[in-house]
């Protein structure tokens, strides 16, 4: 049974369609991320689910019940905001207990629950501190505890990590995931950081201008983009114009292997995508020749930027232990025929996953 079901939601702001026919359902305990560029409607979708905005069309169901007309205060959803949202006049404990206090729960039970939640988010000993005495990361932990204290039917998070520095971000995102799993509550997580989305989600919904462009498991989103938008937005890929040639592709006069060319008619013009980690560097005569433009050290890996004659540039990421080439050198590139993705020139490719 699914815990949240959004059915063809529409939202219009001042004549501009911000969400167009968005449908999404979350299974029980599932963690789904909304990923997309700024202004694509992620926050709007979350706010429709939370009840802060009314949709101009469509419905929101929670555990099978239609809550489209239910005010936010009656939805029993836990929400963590991007901006620091703790009540400045209350201690961490009082903040976490607020939702229970509003529900009229007895003081003792409330305190106990608040303490449990603060232990869970790792802030047991900061219980009596006020928000201004806590760091940004700690404040967001308290906000998470506060959202969970009411035993919400669903957890909504709108870029809760974006105000934090890189280290705390990674640490906290893993912790959010651990706590969410532990409690077993379904979560809808908004982010524009793809690494964040891919690393902690059960499924990712990539959004493009008010629509869901692709919805799938992180690996599927990464490996099998079904549209140009997703292919270009998620990760880095070299992109070439190519022509199908009987099970291969032709790029700038070279005939190159690509298993997926088989699904296309010979002579068809297509987009050819290749991820940096799929590119192998070989002798110039053994592959498509090119010149090493630059070399970037990333720690465990090293990235080469290679200019191919007449085709553009391609990035190649190899383990640093195997990175032997230097800028100016001529190399050949090759790849596993299964690696390249091929997408039609216009319109999305046929759907490859459910």
């Amino acid at each position: 049974m699914s815990s949240l079901e959004a059915v063809s939601l529409h939202k219009v702001y001042g004549g501009r369609t911000v969400l167009a026919d968005v449908s999404l359902s979350l299974g029980e305990g599932e963690f789904v991320s909304l990923l997309g560029p700024s202004g694509c409607g992620k926050t709007t979708l979350l706010r429709l689910v939370a009840g802060f905005e009314r949709p101009d069309g469509g419905r929101v169901l929670l555990d099978g019940r239609d809550i489209t007309g239910v005010p936010a205060a009656k939805r029993n959803l836990g929400m963590v905001f991007q901006a620091y949202s703790l009540f400045p006049n209350m201690t961490a404990e009082e903040n976490v207990g607020f939702g229970l206090r509003v529900r009229g729960e007895a003081t003792e039970a409330r305190r106990k629950r608040a303490r449990e939640m603060l232990e869970l988010v790792g802030l047991g000993e900061h219980m009596h501190k006020y928000p201004h005495q806590l760091s940004g990361g700690q404040q967001q932990r308290v906000a998470l505890g506060r959202a969970l204290a009411i035993r919400p039917a669903l957890l909504l998070l709108d870029e809760p990590l974006s105000a934090l520095d890189a280290r705390v971000r990674v640490q906290l995102r893993d912790e959010i995931r651990r706590i969410q799993r532990e409690i077993g509550v379904a979560a809808l997580f908004v982010t524009h950081d793809q690494e964040e989305a891919l690393s902690i989600s059960d499924r990712v919904a990539v959004m493009e201008r008010g629509r869901i462009a692709q919805l799938g498991e992180p690996a599927a989103i990464y490996e099998e983009p079904t549209s140009l938008f997703v292919a270009r937005f998620v990760g880095q890929m070299a992109e070439f114009d190519a022509e199908i040639d009987a099970g291969c592709v032709r790029i700038a006069g070279h005939t190159l292997p690509a298993a997926r060319a088989a699904g296309h008619a010979p002579g068809e013009r297509v987009h050819f995508f290749l991820r940096p980690e799929h590119v192998r560097l070989v002798a110039p005569t053994d592959g498509l020749p090119g010149v090493v433009e630059s070399r970037t050290f990333n720690g465990p890996t090293t990235t080469f930027r290679i200019t191919l004659a007449g085709a553009g540039t391609v990035l190649a990421t190899v383990p640093t232990t195997e990175a032997r080439h230097t800028p100016g050198e001529t190399v050949g590139i090759t790849w596993d025929p299964a690696a390249p993705r091929i997408l039609k020139l216009d319109g999305p490719a046929p759907a490859q996953d459910a």
Partner: protein
């Protein structure tokens, strides 16, 4: 620049000192607290002070009850109306008190307990305090992320009244205190309305005493000054405590 302090100090201190000396003067018996003693035993003085205090309280309650939700709503939902609010809020400073009185007496209708008593003064007093109350509240609310706070409270299940009482008011305590004390000083010192509408408020009484007994008038002025000054101190201390 140090030499500037002497004339400046004198400028502020001399009138006070002179008033104090005057209030202590007892004619041929030299100096003493006779004027104060007499005042304390004058029921009219107490009545006027109590009336002013009651009016101050009523004005504070009425003013905040109207302005807290209004400024909250403006900040949260229609910030583009801010210029309108700003403009309206300074009108009482621009329109002369005398034309306010004329305008208000023109709408002098309503139940007897209201128009027939000094309670009616609350209407012009709320207007007079408007610029200060509005400023204090607006500054206080702008310092908060109202939208996020209200949405957080809503998602936790709080109704609007709960939100205003449990979240908004506690975080505005300094602003509310400031607004209340400023209102109090304005009401205690207001003369024009009370005098024209023939109510015996504290300021009216000071004026009346001034025409009968100079020493008592001086003593009373000093008391009024003290009240005002304590109110200011209250604002300053409240502000410091909240800024900790």
């Amino acid at each position: 620049m140090k030499w500037l302090w002497a004339p400046l100090g004198a400028y502020f201190a001399l009138p006070l000192v002179a008033t104090a000396v005057m209030s202590l003067w007892q004619g041929r018996q030299g100096y003493g607290f006779h004027a104060y003693a007499e005042l304390i035993h004058t029921p009219e003085m107490w009545n006027s002070l109590l009336l002013s205090a009651r009016l101050a309280f009523e004005t504070i309650v009425a003013g905040l009850a109207i302005l807290v939700p209004a400024v909250f709503w403006m900040n949260l939902r229609v910030p583009r109306l801010r210029p309108v609010f700003d403009f309206v809020s300074v009108l009482p400073l621009v329109v002369p008190a005398i034309s306010l009185v004329a305008g208000i007496t023109a709408i002098y209708t309503g139940p007897d307990w209201f128009v027939g008593t000094a309670n009616f003064l609350v209407v012009p007093y709320v207007l007079l305090a408007l610029p200060y109350t509005y400023r204090a509240l607006d500054v206080g609310m702008r310092a908060l992320d109202l939208r996020t706070l209200t949405e957080a409270a809503q998602s936790l299940g709080a109704s609007w009244p709960t939100m205003i009482l449990r979240v908004l008011v506690p975080n505005l305590i300094t602003a509310l205190l400031g607004a209340a004390l400023l209102t109090m000083t304005i009401v205690i010192g207001e003369f024009t309305f009370a005098s024209i509408l023939l109510f015996n408020t504290f300021a009216v009484y000071i004026n009346h005493i001034g025409s009968t007994s100079a020493t008592r008038a001086a003593a009373l002025s000093l008391l009024a000054f003290l009240i005002t000054w304590l109110a200011m101190l209250g604002v300053a201390l409240g502000g410091r405590r909240a800024a900790r």
